[in-house]
Each structure stands twice: as structure tokens, then as C-alpha cells.
């Protein structure tokens, strides 16, 4: 895949996620969905026509809860088309709402975790250029201890001790980024060591380059970029998978998730619905396809970011 295509693909993925999280409803509502519309398959034009022709009857308002804006725009064409293009669940809630809410849950925490990992990677790379063997050894000891524990155990202990009002994906994502930092620092450090470390800096100084140009342009932008961006993209992807996994485990036990508020649903709900289609023949296979599609979307995003930043 060429770098230009990867660049546009990455931009498209980010734009889609931003748009989805912007459009995500605050609550998942039954809205004005009529109960017999449960498990509507995507692109069901028959049901959509039915929705469009049903007008605003009284049953719609009696069923709704949460946001009132949906109720008022009940049977208008925009609502009906948006309602079914991903299908609905057993309550008649459009799956597009699950997808957008899930995007809202993961977008910023994963982005921040990715950026934090990139910063750690850059620090690790630059530290090898300034010849501080003591600090280097300290970082290696820190990496040894931090990297020695299974990450999920650390995440769960952190989730356990977080006060309820602080629960969310962001603290867990930041912790994941810190746990991933030693790998990123080590890899970036190896890149600058291969360059020559302090001798490379000295050589560039001899050419008359300033510190800003040496460190930020030659070392970070030209040499460290592929490694730190790949590490950041991987952590972004891992945070999304972590969220899906933790939410799924909570859903299995019918408990609230650590990663988001109770009134919000994550992509794990789609997987759970889809799982029922495979095991107990519920007509919700479309939810599984959407859930897996969203996971594939995240993989494509991470891959395209990595490709976009790779060395020429």
C-alpha cells in the first residue's frame, strides 16, 4: 500500500471516528421505534418504507425514554433511514447508535494513549543520544520491573482501586501506555544506537546544525518517526481491544463496565448480540458482522497510520 493511500485512509478513519463520536447520542433510546421493528436487518427497505408510512402515532411517544429530540423527529425520512442502515437490536434500538457511542468511548482515550507512547518512545530515543549511562540503566531497571507483570493483571488492579467517579477508559488507557512505554523506549533507543547515538549528534554539530534541527528534525522526524508512530498506532489499537474486552467481560457477568458510564454502550454489546446469533440462533447476526467490521476498521486505521509514517 503506498504511503499516500495510507495517509488518506488514516485521515478517513480518524474523520469517521470523530464524526461518529460527534453524532453519538447521549443515551441509547427506544426513541419512537415501534416494538415490532426489533432485529431489523440492515438495509431492510420494506421495514423502512413501513416506518416512513407509519406517521406519528401515540405508541411512539409512550415507549420513549431519555432524549426527547428523537421522539419529536419520529417518523421523518431522515430518522427512518438512519434507523435501519445498520439494523436494530431486539428492543428496536438502531445499531448505528451502539457504533457511534462505542466510537465516542474509545476515540480520545486511545488517541491520548497513542500520543503518550509516542512521547515515551521519543524520550527513549533521545536519551541514547545524550550519553547518560546511569539514566539509561535506571530506565532499563524500571522497564524490567514494569514489563515483568502481565499487563491485564495491572490493569485490573488499577480498575479495582479506582474510585467509582474516576472510572473510565482514560486512566486505564494511560496506564496501558505507561506499560507499553518500555518497549517503545527500547526500540527507539535501538534505532538511535544504530545511528551512532552521541557520535551522530557530534557529527551533525560539526556540520554546524543547531540542537533543534539535530534532535527534532534529523533524529525524531527522520529516524525515530517510523518506530514511534508504529508503537503509538499499536497502542491505540490495543486500547480499543482492551476496552472491547473489558466491556465484554462485564456484559457477560451483567455488571457495569469499568470503561464507560452505564448509560453508554460499547462495541462489545454488538459482539455479545452477535454471539447470541451464533449460539442460540437469535436473528442478530448483523450485529456480529458490524462488531467485527468495527474491529477490522480499527486494525485498518492502525495499519494505515503505520504505513503512512514508514521510512522511505
Amino acid at each position: 500500500m503506498s504511503r499516500r493511500i495510507s495517509f488518506f485512509l488514516a485521515i478517513f478513519c480518524f474523520a469517521s471516528l470523530f464524526w461518529a463520536s460527534y453524532k453519538a447520542p447521549k443515551f441509547l433510546t427506544l426513541g419512537s421505534v415501534i416494538s415490532e421493528y426489533k432485529y431489523v436487518q440492515p438495509f431492510d427497505s420494506e421495514k423502512q418504507d413501513e416506518c416512513l408510512s407509519s406517521g406519528d402515532d401515540s405508541s411512539s411517544s409512550s415507549m420513549g425514554f431519555g432524549s426527547s429530540t428523537k421522539k419529536s423527529s419520529a417518523k421523518d425520512p431522515e430518522f427512518c433511514s438512519s434507523m435501519y442502515w445498520m439494523g436494530t437490536d431486539r428492543k428496536g434500538i438502531p445499531l448505528v447508535d451502539y457504533a457511534t457511542q462505542g466510537a465516542k468511548v474509545i476515540l480520545f482515550p486511545s488517541l491520548i494513549a497513542g500520543i503518550v507512547t509516542c512521547i515515551f518512545g521519543i524520550m527513549g530515543g533521545l536519551l541514547r543520544c545524550v550519553q547518560l549511562p546511569f539514566l539509561d540503566s535506571m530506565i532499563q531497571i524500571f522497564a524490567e520491573i514494569v514489563g515483568a507483570l502481565p499487563r491485564m493483571v495491572v490493569i485490573l488492579v488499577c480498575a479495582l482501586v479506582l474510585p467509582r467517579d474516576m472510572r473510565g477508559l482514560l486512566p486505564l488507557a494511560l496506564l496501558w501506555a505507561i506499560l507499553s512505554a518500555p518497549t517503545a523506549m527500547d526500540e527507539a533507543g535501538a534505532v538511535t544506537s544504530r545511528l551512532g547515538g552521541a557520535r551522530f549528534v557530534e557529527a551533525l554539530r560539526a556540520h554546524g546544525f543547531g540542537a533543534f534541527r539535530i534532535y527534532l528534525y534529523h533524529i525524531v522526524a527522520l529516524n525515530l518517526r517510523p518506530v514511534v508512530v508504529r508503537q503509538g498506532a499499536e497502542v491505540m489499537m490495543q486500547v480499543v481491544f482492551l476496552e472491547v474486552a473489558l466491556s465484554y467481560l462485564a456484559v457477560v457477568e451483567s455488571q457495569p463496565s469499568f470503561t464507560h458510564a452505564d448509560n453508554i454502550n460499547s462495541w462489545a454489546e454488538l459482539l455479545k448480540m452477535g454471539y447470541s446469533a451464533v449460539v442460540v440462533d437469535e436473528p442478530s447476526l448483523h450485529a456480529l458482522i458490524i462488531g467485527l467490521g468495527l474491529i477490522a476498521f480499527v486494525v485498518v486505521k492502525a495499519t494505515s497510520i503505520t504505513n503512512m509514517a514508514r521510512a522511505r
Binding site: 540503566s137 532499563q140 531497571i141 524490567e144 520491573i145 514489563g147 515483568a148 507483570l149 502481565p150 499487563r151 491485564m152 493483571v153 485490573l156 488492579v157 480498575a159 479495582l160 482501586v161 474510585p163 481491544f241 472491547v244 474486552a245 465484554y248 467481560l249 462485564a250 457477560v252 457477568e253 455488571q255 462489545a268 459482539l271 454471539y275 451464533v278 449460539v279 467485527l292 474491529i295 486494525v299
Partner: protein, 310 residues
């Protein structure tokens, strides 16, 4: 780190430190959280917290609790569950779940070991890498769902509970062995590390001297390969929690998850410590292997007379 023994020494120190650090941090947070630790077990409006505090050894402060717990844990007594199964000995819960976790862990080592061997002997060429990477990129939660569905479809409602349990363990092990790039990472990692070393100049010289490639490259890459293998096992330990809950295996990871969900500090304290001990054992094994490699290298002749060998 110029001295060869520094790194193994750090590993051994970390290995000894981890089983103390993990319960230490959890104990610290039990007291750091708002409210009385006993009220975590049962709210004061429903229970006599003073009595509970005495019963669970929470009435004499964090240090006494920590040292007592550690001393008892050293003898295999991990205390009692606070919430998940209130009052039940954790030792009892672990007796049922620990073997399942160990079987799951050992079986999941098979795919990554096969991957490492395939990589080391370059059985699979690099043209297959995109396919391997694509399979490996599937997250553990998706693989676990597939495994759970397979077991559920085949054994739901049947009275073959023992067989179903083994099926869960095997499917769980396959999940851990292939998801999150465990197999593909092991294969590609081993192959690339050895390939890189084989391209070194000294290997060419050693071939001219009539020596084998492996005897020259292996001591130099052994530490890197051991490190890779340990990190794969750690990754598997991390995924254990997800697989055990989704596939329905009664293991230590599932207990840790239940404890976390219910804020059962007693259970989390015990299960997290077990994971820390497992990590510590891995570190010690790595340190021993590194020492053996270093001793082997140092035992090799230092004054090789090239003229004679040619």
C-alpha cells in the same frame, strides 16, 4: 551494562521483589481508599464492621495486615473471600481453579513453541508473512468468542461436563496460542533474529573455518530468543483473564476478574500475587538461562589461533 551478571541479577531481584510489591500495593490501596476497609466487605448500616475488621485482620492497620497476610500466604493460606463468596477460604477456590489455569498455560505454549521452531529452522518463508500477520492481528476477545461458540454448540445441554471442560481448555489454549500475534510473532521473531545473526561477518568466517552456523550464532542470539519467549508467555498470562471468562474456564484469571468486579480485595490480593509469582518464576528461569549462556561463552577459547585452524 558492561558486566554480564548485572542483567540476570536485576531479573532475580525483580523476581523476588514482585511477589512482595503486588500485595503491598493492593494493601496500600485498601487503606488509601475512602472509608473503613471493613466497610468494603459489608456496609456499616448492614453489618457490625468492628467485628468484621477483627475477623478479617483489618483492625490493626495496613502493616500488620500485610505482614500477617504475607506470612500466611507463604504457607499457602491466602485468607478468605470478602465479597465474591464471602467467608470462603481462597485456598479452596484456588485449589479448583489453579490446575485449569496451568493446563491452559501449558497447552498454549505448544503453538508458540511450534512457531518458534518453524521460525528458527526457516520452514515458512517470509512471503507468507502478510497472511501470518493478518491471522495474528485478530484480538484475543474475537478468538475467544469463536472458541466459546464452538464449545457451546458442541456441549451445551450435554452431560459430558468433564469432556466439555477439557474442550474449553484446549480451545482456550488455541485462542491464546494464536490470538494477538502469539504464534505469528513467535515464528517471525525467531526467524528474523536468527536470520539477522546469520548475516554477520563472523558467521561467514566460521563457515570457512569448517564450523557450523548454529554453534556460532546460537550463543549470541540465545538471550534475545529467551527474552522473546518470556514476553510471549507474559502476553499469554495477560490474555488468560479474557479467555477464562469468555470461554467459561474456572481458572485463576476468572477469579481475578470476579474479584475485581465485586471489589473483593481478598480475592484480588491472592490471585494477583499468584500472577506475580508466575512472572517471578519466569524471570528467574530467564536469569538462569542467561547465566548459562554467559558461562558457555566465557568457557570458549579466547586465544583462537586462526593460522592453525586454517
Amino acid at each position: 551494562m558492561s558486566q554480564w551478571w548485572i542483567r540476570p541479577s536485576i531479573r532475580v531481584c525483580s523476581a523476588l521483589f514482585l511477589p512482595l510489591l503486588v500485595p503491598g500495593i493492593i494493601t496500600f490501596f485498601i487503606w488509601a481508599l475512602p472509608g473503613d476497609p471493613a466497610s468494603n466487605i459489608c456496609p456499616p448500616e448492614r453489618c457490625d464492621t468492628a467485628l468484621l475488621a477483627k475477623e478479617f485482620n483489618l483492625d490493626q492497620g495496613s502493616w500488620v495486615f500485610f505482614t500477617d497476610w504475607l506470612a500466611e500466604a507463604f504457607h499457602g493460606d491466602f485468607g478468605r473471600s470478602w465479597r465474591v463468596m464471602q467467608g470462603v477460604e481462597i485456598q479452596e477456590l484456588l485449589r479448583k481453579s489453579f490446575p485449569n489455569t496451568m493446563f491452559l498455560l501449558l497447552f498454549s505454549l505448544i503453538p508458540i513453541t511450534i512457531g518458534a521452531l518453524i521460525g528458527a529452522f526457516e520452514i515458512v518463508r517470509s512471503k507468507w508473512d502478510p497472511i501470518l500477520v493478518m491471522v495474528g492481528i485478530v484480538p484475543v476477545v474475537v478468538f475467544a468468542l469463536i472458541s466459546a461458540a464452538v464449545v457451546e454448540i458442541n456441549y451445551a445441554g450435554s452431560d459430558l461436563e468433564n469432556q466439555a471442560n477439557w474442550a474449553r481448555i484446549v480451545m482456550g489454549a488455541l485462542t491464546l496460542g494464536f490470538a494477538d500475534a502469539a504464534f505469528s510473532g513467535s515464528l517471525i521473531g525467531f526467524r528474523d533474529t536468527l536470520k539477522q545473526e546469520k548475516n554477520q561477518r563472523y558467521v561467514g568466517v566460521s563457515i570457512l573455518r569448517g564450523e557450523t552456523v548454529l554453534s556460532n550464532t546460537l550463543p549470541n542470539v540465545c538471550n534475545a530468543l529467551i527474552g522473546q519467549y518470556r514476553s510471549r508467555i507474559l502476553h499469554i498470562l495477560s490474555g488468560l483473564v479474557i479467555v477464562e471468562v469468555i470461554v467459561g474456564i474456572n481458572g485463576v484469571g476468572a477469579l481475578l476478574w470476579k474479584g475485581t468486579l465485586s471489589q473483593d480485595f481478598g480475592l484480588v490480593l491472592a490471585t494477583a500475587t499468584i500472577f506475580a509469582v508466575l512472572s517471578g518464576i519466569l524471570l528467574i528461569i530467564q536469569a538462569i538461562l542467561e547465566c548459562l549462556v554467559a558461562m558457555h561463552i566465557r568457557k570458549a577459547p579466547t586465544d583462537v589461533r586462526l593460522a592453525e585452524s586454517v
